[in-house]
Structures are given as C-alpha cells and as structure tokens.
C-alpha cells in the first residue's frame, strides 16, 4: 500500500451507480486515498440493486456496490443541505481529485461546480461523467445502458439482421466512461505537475461508446457504407462465430449445451481449419474459397461443418485448433470464468473478506505490473469512516461531529 503509484493523492468520490464508482475504484487500487461520499441513511443507489446473498436485499451486500467501491473510505454527507455543501467545500480544499457522475447541472445547483471548487482549490482536478456530457442539445436527456448503447451506435451492430438490435453485456457504457475518466484524470495530474493548476474533465458516456467502433464510422466516412449487424458472427469473415458442440459430461448434467468460439479470418488459418476437419476440398468450391466468400454463404457452410462440432467437446476442439495456431476459445458464463484455469493461473481473482458479504472472489485489474502493484481491499460500509475523515482531514471535534449528526448532515 505504501508503494502505490498514486500514493499521497486524496480523491473525493461523489459517485453513484457505476461510472464514477469504477473510476474511483481504479484510483484507490493505485494507492490514492479515495473518500466515497454518500447521502446519509440511503447511500449510493447501487446498494439497492444487487445481486444480493440469497436474493435478500441488504445495502451492505449488493454485489454491484461491493465490486465498484473496493478500497474506498466511506463518508456520509448530505450535499443538499447548506452545512453538507460547506463541509464538501472544505474537503475540496484538501483534495487533489474529485469525481462525480450527477446529471449535468446538479453540482452547479449545489454550489459545487468546477468554477466554485477551483476558486477554493486551483490545483483540483475535477472529473464529471454524464450520459451526454456537460453541453449540447441532449445534455439533459435521460438514459440507461440500453439508451446509451442505442445513441452511441453500438446497439445497431449487435444482433440478428432480421430482428431487433441488441443491448447489454452488463454495464459497458458506464464502465468505458469510467476508463476514459481515469485516463483523463491521470493526464490532468501529469499536466498539473508541469503547469501547477488543475482542470475540469468532461466525460460523456455517449462519446465514450461512440469512440469504440472505429470500423463502422470509418467505413461510413470512407465509402458511405453502413455496417449492418450480422447475427452471431463477425461481419465480413467466417467462421468467426459461436458453434454448438458436444457437451461435456459435467455440463450435460446442468442441461447446458456445449459451445465453442472460433475467430477465423486469415486465409491460411482457414485452409488449415478445413484440413483438420478433413474437409479440405471445400476450399475448391468458390462459395467457400476463403473466409470472405464463406461469410457470403455461411448458412450452407454451417450446415456442412456443424456435424463435426457436435462430435467433439469444446475442450477437444479448442486444443486441436490452438495446437495449429487457429483462434478458438471457450464460451464462458460469469460462473465459469471463476473456474477458468487461465484466470486462476494468473491470480486474477482476489479473495476479499467483507463483514456482511463474507469472503468472495473479486475480479482484479487485467494486468500485472512489476512496480507498485495495485491493491484490492473491501468496499466501505455506509459512513464507516465519517468521523475519521472529518476529524483527520478537517480537525472536527466530537462536538462538531455530534452537531452535524444531529442535523442529519452526516
């Protein structure tokens, strides 16, 4: 902990739900002191979402909250009260970074927008994450994950061409905005080392997701082409898809089918793949001459190769193909990734104990670093460090704390 790359930095984390919270979690992993500021009594809305142990709602045992708030200190503060806003301003004087993901205009209405806070602390880096950014005609539009997937152009390319486009993969728009915010904050901290001043980082969830399908945008700008969704396949090459295969015994017991993922786009890999299936002659047929042709005739192609897949398990297929350097992979759900030998071998899952949720395995960051490794500690309880933070940072005595507590401010 004493060695963290961001050691010595203090972060005020006014996040709720996903986007701001994941950003704060990353800052905490690298050793910053991250103070999660939650409304008294109710806390972050993520505490009400779950999933919960045995499906029994408990604000201290929501998986969403627990995962997104590891390593933080918990402070409750009613920002909607004058006293609460005043305490926040005082804290901002001692902070390096502030992260918030309120709807645009909320911080301003509380007297806590960037101009106000930067007047108190010109070195403050403030990141605001919102659905559509702090300006523009959609600024006050409302959105959830699906609406962000829709308006960023991501949803249109997911799903079957003849059916409705698909959203989901969990909370990806918010996660991506969190990653952009994190990079933006560290960039601003680097600039601060040189320029001596902080700045405001405006992150739009829509823009974050719109930045992550360059293939579709560049196709349009170059040739006017619109990339359509292609079903459970990948655009112009085949077989880059998921095939059903023979179930392993364990999975058959759970009533689950076997599935395997292929990612063949290279003509050399394609020929080798056909040879392994003992179907090399298919490449002589112009319909199946290469991955591009194959994509045009995938229905016929799938009919020809599916029987081979149904005779082999995913384990057999993945290893047979990978031994020949052909991209193939397992198809895991969120329970199966916990047992995957590759993640296990790299120590990706970190066991963290929590007084209410117990000892569980949490996903860590997707990299190992040789210096100043990230640390993973449990999420804060609601208001767990309120006294510690206010006494330690601002020197409040017991009387002042009691006053704030009686007034419902903390």
């Amino acid at each position: 902990m004493s060695d963290g790359a961001l050691e010595g930095l203090t972060v005020l984390d006014l996040s709720h739900y996903v986007a701001g919270a994941y950003c704060g979690k990353l800052l905490a992993a690298f050793g910053a002191e991250v103070i999660k500021v939650e409304p008294p009594d109710v806390g972050d809305g993520a505490r009400r979402i779950g999933p919960f142990p045995d499906d029994l709602p408990d604000p201290e045992a929501s998986a969403l909250y627990l995962y997104l708030n590891t390593g933080k200190k918990g402070l409750t503060l009613d920002l909607w009260s004058d006293d609460g806003a005043a305490v926040l301003k005082e804290l901002a004087g001692h902070a390096d970074v502030l992260v918030e993901n309120f709807a645009p205009g909320v911080m301003e209405s509380l007297g806590l927008d960037y101009p106000a806070l930067s007047a108190i602390n010109p070195r403050l880096v403030m990141a605001s994450i919102s659905n559509f950014g702090q300006s523009g005609p959609y600024r006050d539009y409302r959105a959830d994950t699906m609406v962000e997937m829709a308006l960023s152009g991501q949803m249109y390319v997911n799903g079957d061409p003849e059916r409705e486009p698909l959203s989901s993969m969990g909370y990806q728009p918010a996660y991506q905005a969190a990653l952009y915010a994190y990079s933006g904050i560290v960039a601003a901290l680097l600039a601060r080392e040189r320029d001596g001043r902080g700045q405001h980082v405006d992150i739009s969830i829509q823009e974050s997701m719109a930045s992550e399908h360059q293939f579709t945008l560049n196709r349009f700008t170059a040739s006017g082409g619109i990339r359509m969704r292609a079903g459970n396949r990948y655009g112009s090459v085949h077989p880059t898809t998921i095939y059903p295969c023979k179930a392993t015994n364990g999975k058959a017991k759970n009533g689950k089918k076997g599935l395997v993922s292929l990612g063949i786009s290279d003509p050399g890999q394609y020929v080798l793949f056909l040879e392994l299936l003992d179907m090399a002659e298919l490449a002589d047929d112009p319909r199946f001459a290469n991955p591009q042709a194959c994509a045009q005739n995938y229905v016929e192609f799938d009919e020809l190769v599916r029987p081979w897949f149904m005779e082999h398990t995913a384990e057999e297929i993945v290893h047979a193909l990978q031994d020949n350097r052909i991209p193939a992979a397992f198809v895991n759900d969120v329970s199966e990734v916990l047992d995957d030998p590759q993640y296990a071998s790299r120590g990706f899952w970190k066991e963290i104990d929590h007084p209410v949720a117990g000892t569980r395995r949490y996903a860590s960051l997707p990299y190992h670093v040789s210096e100043a490794s990230p640390t993973y500690e449990r999420a804060n309880l609601l208001g767990e460090h309120t006294d510690e933070v206010l006494a330690g940072k601002l020197g409040y005595d017991d009387k002042r704390l009691a006053q704030l507590r009686d007034g419902g401010v903390i």
Binding site: G153, G170, V201, N218, T221, V331
Partner: protein
C-alpha cells in the same frame, strides 16, 4: 526535416512512446496518448505492412478506402489506419535484422514507453524482451498486451477480440431471451483492453515522474472482459444465479426495449421505470384505453405482461419517425434514444454541436470525419495536430534528428532493406 510543431500544450507533451502494436487494442491506447500530446513513433516491419496492400475487390468488402479505391499506395489510404495513426509518427524497421534491432535499442534509450501486442514469444525471440530493454533504459515503461497474458495454460493461444468476447463472459450477458450467448458486433474487448492499457501506462508515467523508474505492464486482454463484468461474477457468488439473457428487457423496468419505427431498419430504444415515467409515457402515446387496464396498472403487472405491452408499444411506434419518438419521450422525461447507424451517428446534432468529430485532411486519402477524443480536458485539450503518417514518413526525423544518423547512413539502411517506404507483399 523537423516534424510539424503543435499549436498548444498537451498533458503528455515530452513523453515519447515507441509503438509496435497492431490492429486495434494497442493502437487504440496510443491514439489516445498521441491525441493528448505524446510523441508516438509507430514502428512497422514492411512484411506486416504488406497486409495493408489490397485489391479493389477486397477494398469494396472492407469499405474503408475512400470511394472503395485502393489507389497506387493502398497502405497509405486505408481510412481505418489513418484514424488509428492520427498524430503519430511512422518509421519502418526490420527487427529480424541486426541493424534493425540495434537502432530499435537506441530508440529505447531515449524513450519513455514501449507498447506491443505480439504473442508472448515474439519479443524474446527478437532479443528485445523487458530484461534486455530495462538494462538499456531503467526508466522504460514496457507494456505488453497479448490475448491471454504472458503466463498460464492458454498464454500461447491465438486470439482476437472476437474470441476473447465469449471467453471472458461478456458474450454470455448478451442475447435474445433463452438463446445462445451473442458476440458483440464490434470485437468490443479490443478497444476496452486499449483503455486499460492507456490507464496503466499513464499511471506508470505519473510514478516515473516521481521516482524515475520504469516498469513492466503485462496486460491480458481476456482479463479486461472479466474485469468489466466483475459485478456479475461477484453477484453469482452471492445469489447463486447466472444472469439470464433477456434481449433488451430489464429486471426493474417495463416497457424496456427497441421498437420498430417508420423506414427500413429504424428502431427506437425506450426505457420506462418509475410510476412517474409510466404516466408520462402513457400521456405521450395519447393515453390509449389499453394503458389504463389492470394488466398494466403497476410495474409488477407491466413486467408480468411484457409481451402484450411490447406489442402495444410496437403498434404505436411502427409508423412514427424514430427521432420524433425520442424527442417526445425525452420532453416527457423518459429515457429514449434512436438506435443510430454509423451515418446517423456522424450526423447526430448533439455530437456535432459538441464538436466531437474531427475533420482530418490526409495527403493520400483526402478529408474525412473521425471520432474525436471523449476525454475533454478544459485546459490542455486533446486535439488533432498532425494527420496520420504515410509508411516510413518520419525516417529523417527519427533516425536522423533523434538518433543522429547522416543522410548517407539513412540511404544505406534503405539500400540494405532495413527500412523502406513500401510494404513487402506476402505471398499467400
């Protein structure tokens, strides 16, 4: 000979990055850092660049060459590469030659960061793995990002974003109700891994400013997908349940889905949660008789009778303009958005008013509009200060100015095939 100066200070000014990465994940990370002012030197072997040589037929399939015309130098005209390489510099270097590796090591001496996304055995085989380069420059930040990471039983696996997606659990969370896991249409783990890489590299740069030390960052793209679904794998441990695939439906909202609108393949996504939103929604659609019935009285009723509810919503949206529906819903405080395609996205009035798109002029491809940078810094903004380089455009600056080679020495490197300006086309 000198590269074009920038007109404003970026937060990463003075940072030099050597970029051996290819395709998407690595270039996505370095594109971000170049936009923020870092000097990113992209280094390609001319055999690899050979993949950028295409026929007109393939160009039409890809659709990323201006007017589908590959031109005389297609390796300089693919708009996708031009987007990924904006603000970067480019040199060629054959790393399987002694002179190529020698020059590469000299570049490492004067750089802050090296990024590559080869399979784990390539860098050691070339004799330029982290221990070697650290000995040359202890301050070097070396980011390696193979699909499954450098160690473990699958470390040798060949992977793409499209196979990482199902492996990491992401695909299991998307799909039509009761059907198989569905791949993302855009190889999503690629840009997502790139974002983790940029964050890790900049964190290491921040530490280097304080300590002078570099480090090794070993990123596994497969783990990025699992990190971005960490709430679900933790949730499974708590509740014992794996999230069901439910199309566009929501556990606590109804109606919630994509509904067809007037025109070909036009859809609007509508999300109705609270009672206030339901009342507002009913008003927008004119309070039809069915909406007042008992079957839709409470959220529980609406969730229970979703098929019927969706049919009513579809009947209402089907003949309407998707944008009109979005605007009317939003005016009533209801989350709704057009399911935009690439063209609609580029013409989106909100994104254009915010100046999200950058028009970039390129000497061989013309002027095109690209996604800008979602990181909006108030004082040191990201910007485009240099179009994408052509293959080998910056030999004079990088080898001449930075390494001090004479014009004759650079010519000699070209004669010897260590550098060049055209790809070596691979026989297939």
């Amino acid at each position: 000979m000198t590269v074009m100066p920038k007109d404003a200070a970026g937060p990463l000014d003075g940072v030099r990055i050597l970029d051996l990465s290819r395709v998407w994940a690595g270039p996505h990370a370095t594109r971000l850092m170049a936009d923020l002012g870092a000097e990113v030197i992209h280094i390609t072997g001319r055999r690899l660049a050979g993949r950028r040589t295409v026929t007109r037929e393939i160009a039409e399939v890809l659709g990323t060459y201006p007017d589908n015309e590959p031109g005389e130098r297609p390796w300089n005209r693919n708009v996708l590469n031009i987007d990924m390489s904006r603000n970067k510099l480019d040199i060629t270097l054959e790393l399987d030659t002694e002179r190529g590796v020698g020059l590469f090591k000299r570049l490492v001496e004067i750089s802050d960061v090296l990024i590559e996304n080869y399979s784990p055995r390539v860098m050691p085989n070339l004799g330029i793995d982290y221990p070697v380069l650290k000995a040359i420059n202890p301050g070097i930040i070396f980011c390696s990002m193979p699909g499954y990471g450098p160690t473990g039983p699958y470390s040798h696996f060949v992977s793409y974003g499209t196979t990482i997606d199902p492996h990491s659990g992401l695909a299991s969370m998307m799909g039509y109700p009761g059907e198989e896991p569905h791949m993302s249409g855009n190889a999503y783990p690629d840009p997502a891994s790139g974002m983790f890489a940029s964050g890790a590299i900049m964190t290491a740069l921040f530490r280097k400013r304080r300590t002078g030390k570099g480090q090794l960052i070993a990123l596994a793209q497969a783990e990025s997908g699992a990190a971005l679904t960490g709430e679900a794998s933790l949730g499974y441990q708590l509740s014992g349940r794996v999230p069901a695939r439910m199309g566009n439906r929501h556990l606590r909202k109804a109606p919630h889905g994509a509904y067809p609108c007037a025109g070909d393949d036009k859809w609007v996504a509508i999300a109705v949660g609270s009672e206030r939103e339901w009342t507002g929604f009913c008003e927008v659609i004119g309070n039809p008789g069915w909406s007042e019935g008992e079957r839709f009285a409470t959220l529980q009723d609406r969730l229970r009778n979703q098929n019927e509810l969706d049919q009513h919503v579809r009947d209402w949206t089907r003949d309407q303009d998707a944008y009109k529906v979005m605007e009317r819903m939003q005016e009533a405080g209801i989350a709704a958005g057009v399911v935009v395609n690439a063209g609609e996205l580029m013409n989106d009035r909100h994104l254009n008013e915010r100046g999200f798109f950058w028009k970039i002029d390129h000497p061989e491809a013309g002027t095109h509009q690209h996604a800008g940078q979602p990181i909006r810094l108030s004082e040191t903004p990201a910007r485009n200060y240099r179009p994408a380089p052509t293959l080998g455009q910056h030999h004079d600056y990088v080898l001449g100015e930075l390494l001090g080679l004479s014009a004759d020495e650079i010519d000699d490197l070209e004669q010897a095939g260590v550098i060049g300006y055209e790809p070596l086309v691979r026989e297939r």
